[in-house]
């Protein structure tokens, strides 16, 4: 095919697995010169992994990468950059204390002897900005620029490396409307100049506006490549979420609508990602929190739990107004929080299963000031049995356990506490199917016992399978609430990608 001549990048049959997970299976992806190619998929679909394979952060297990017609394999982002592939990351890799020009030329400063020639550097930067139509002072300190300007600098840096392929990883996450327009103007200019561009974003309207083709990924597999102009939003979304649902989603809420409200949150505010969040939780209910990564779901529930400071908001538990200033207050009030990152927030990795299990309830195991180790071990062993935690013994350091079993240890800790409200933050992340099933069953059993659960999950299948009611968040706000009886993946995705003040719907 003579189209091949136009291809700047071709990735064929890329496979990559991590211990226990097939992150990428036989993925295809190509980019033409002068094209903006969107890469779309749910969280965990494998977009970032694919880009990391391309830029040399990960090594592929199988497949070929052709860049400008030659087979390549990069071993570091630096090699990729030298070959002409640049990534503009979501989190910017800039040094705030240095000037714009110093950031642009870091690692390749023009020197005379050992002295850096700042004047040459500034002149060079000024030329570059003029070419790209950017209005940025090379001598300004990077930290004094807006996020949008910083992003421009990152792009200019890519251009100054003569990048022929530039990857944008959610570039608009932190930008305002006007700044996005600026960014798009620049992207169009680069496209006209013959650059290949990869655009990763969850925002459907941006995809429609700026990209030429869309490649959809799901569960680490290639699904389809569409011409953006010829396809509708709905087509793209159904490609992203339309996996075969192997478990039936819940069709109606098991929680009676007149069940008492056990938790009421009003106008909760904390940092940038929790804005005026209000919701209620009923007895025996599983309330699903859906949304994209960074939508503010974890931040909301951490603020509720007292793990992070809040700037405002009222919390009622069983109808009583409750002050929660620290996790200690929350635990006392009968709330448990199973963190999304169990290694960082849930477990003492060098310590044994028993020690981790009793961390939230140590007072029950005291005689005077002494810990009753026998009783502690008995309790741990009881949960090792009932949750089928696979461990050589109650003293085994939890770092030697698998992810699923570690998660069960965290669960044991909170089950022992017997709280009436449990927050499960991504309870099945990084866990194999069998353990997942057990965790779902456990959650159902808990609600049958009259406990109430808030579940954050980025997996729509999980949300639809477990929740009685669903709250969708985007950019720190609740964008919608759905009863399980009329919730669909498409409806949730539409709410999750809706921008502030925008009414969802037509393309």
């Amino acid at each position: 095919m003579d189209l091949m001549d136009e291809m700047i990048l071709e990735m064929r049959g890329i496979c990559k697995s991590f211990p226990g997970v097939h992150a990428l299976t036989d993925v295809h992806f190509d980019v033409r010169r002068g094209e903006v190619h969107a890469l779309m998929g749910e969280n965990g679909a494998g977009k970032s992994t694919l880009m990391k394979v391309l830029s040399g952060i990960y090594r592929k297990d199988a497949g070929t990468i052709l860049f400008e017609g030659k087979e390549v394999e990069f071993h570091s982002p630096r090699e990729a950059l030298e070959a002409g592939i640049a990534i503009v990351h979501q989190e910017l890799n800039l040094i705030g204390h240095l000037t714009v020009a110093q950031n642009l030329f870091i690692g390749r400063e023009p020197v005379r002897g050992v002295m850096i020639r700042d004047n040459d550097m500034n002149a060079e930067a000024r030329k570059l900005f003029a070419r790209l139509g950017m209005d940025i002072d090379p001598k300004a300190r990077m930290s004094s620029l807006t996020v949008a300007k910083q992003q421009m600098c990152e792009i200019a840096k890519a251009v100054s490396h003569n990048a022929k392929l530039i990857i944008f990883d959610e570039p608009t996450a932190a930008l305002t409307e006007a700044e996005i327009e600026q960014l798009f103007a620049l992207i169009r200019e680069l496209r006209a100049g013959g650059c290949g561009l990869v655009y990763i974003s969850h925002r459907m309207d941006e995809i429609k506006e700026i990209t030429d083709r869309v490649t959809i990924m799901r569960d680490g597999r290639y699904i389809d490549t569409l011409i953006t102009a010829d396809s509708t939003k709905e087509e793209i979304i159904s490609g992203m979420v339309g996996r075969v649902i192997y478990e039936d989603p819940k069709t109606e809420s098991r929680c009676p609508s007149d069940a008492p409200v056990v938790l009421k949150v009003e106008r909760l505010n904390a940092g940038k990602l929790v804005r005026d969040v209000s919701f209620e939780l009923r007895k025996g209910e599983i309330l699903g929190f859906a949304g994209l990564v960074g939508a503010g779901r974890t931040e909301t529930l951490r603020a509720l739990f007292g793990a992070d400071p809040k700037q405002g908001g009222e919390i009622w538990i069983d109808g009583i107004k409750t002050e929660i200033r620290s996790p200690k207050d929350a635990v006392k009030a009968g709330i448990s929080y199973l963190s999304e990152d169990r290694k960082r927030y849930g477990l003492m990795l060098q310590k044994g299963v028993a020690e981790n299990t009793t961390m939230a309830t140590l007072k029950q195991f005291l005689k005077g000031v002494f810990i009753l180790k026998r009783k502690e071990k008995d309790a741990a062993e009881q949960y090792i049995g009932s949750l089928t935690i696979k461990t050589p013994g109650a003293d085994e350091p939890v770092m030697n356990l698998s992810g699923g079993n570690q998660q069960k240890v965290v669960m044991a800790k909170w089950l022992l506490r017997d709280s009436s409200i449990l927050i499960f933050d991504e309870p099945t992340r990084g866990i194999d199917v069998g353990a997942k099933q057990e965790i779902y069953e456990l959650m159902n059993r808990l609600t049958e016992e009259g406990k109430s659960i808030i579940m954050i999950s980025s997996e729509l299948v999980e949300i639809l399978r477990m929740s009685d009611r669903i709250i969708v968040m985007n950019e720190g706000r609740i964008t919608g609430e759905l009863d399980i009886s009329d919730a669909t993946q498409e409806k949730i995705m539409a709410l999750a990608t809706r921008r502030d003040g925008q009414k969802g719907g037509a393309a």
């Binding site: 739990f305 793990a307 620290s326 996790p327 200690k328 929350a330 635990v331 006392k332 929080y337 963190s339 960082r344 927030y345 849930g346 477990l347 003492m348 990795l349 060098q350 310590k351 020690e355 981790n356 961390m359 939230a360 140590l362 007072k363 005291l366 000031v369 002494f370 810990i371 180790k373 770092m399 800790k413 506490r417």
Partner: protein, 342 residues
Amino acid sequence: MKNGLKRFLNCKPVRAIGPNRVVLLCVMIFLCLLFQLFSALLNRGNAFLTYERAVSAVNYGYFIGFMALGATFVIATGGIDFSIGPVMFTAALISGYCFQRYNLPMGAALLLCPLIGMIFGCVGGFLVSYLRLPSFITSLGLMQIAKGIGSLFTKTQNVSWPAETDPGGWFRKLSNIRIPLENGRVFNLPTGLLILIAVAVLCAVILNTTRAGRYMVGIGSNREAVRLSGVDTRRWEMLAYVICGTLAGFAAIFYVGCYTTVIPGRGDTFNNEVIAACVMGGTSMSGGVASILGTLIGSLMIAIMQEGILSMGLSISFQYALTALILIAVVFADIAGRRRKN
């Protein structure tokens, strides 16, 4: 050979004490033999393994030991304390000065020592746990403050504690009881060592069997996990510094019991020795792992090295350099071991 070693390290008594401690004990024995050899070679046939050297090593070992026991708590929480040595000296200076100048009864002067240490521990602990200052900087600052206060209080004069025969000299019996034997020689009963062991047992009980110890080690292992379990981590972290300060003050009693004279503005050389003793004993600088028995053996090791260097006829400056070198080496071993595990 390698298998045999593995089997040895996995056998029951070794596991009970901890392989780390067993290796340390072996190194200690090896070191003693080495010192014996080199003392003879370098220092005109001098012997290392003598009764006098043993007494001297034990004397040095136990005031270091008290400080190291305290430091074990702080290091277990993932912190560090560089104010231990100067705080110990300041406690000795102030209480000794009060005894000399203000006729404070000896009993009260002795009580004053741990009290002063405790005050420093409270201040440091508050700064680190409630105000979230880095323990490294906080304790360096406190070290200078302790030195300054000690110097100001004594007007930069040395303070000498009374000799055994002087009034108030009875306190020396806390460190050593000298029993004259019939053949004219003196038997030295190391009461200080006995007290050290008693305090160590107490520390081990606190660290291993109480809620306080569980939380302190937990904080060192994963502060966030402990906090999110509903524990007020600040309170327990502060407690570690209070214990550390109190024991540093307590160590002063045993320092003056053997060495009599305290010089203002000193004491920082003990920091390295104390921290090295802890880390050698298997307490991890990154927190979460602590061993009281290890700290005791580590302290003894430090004392033996000090004696060994003197025995070989080398200057005490070697001791400072060597301790620092060993500290760096054991911390490296600790970190490298952790990295390999991950």
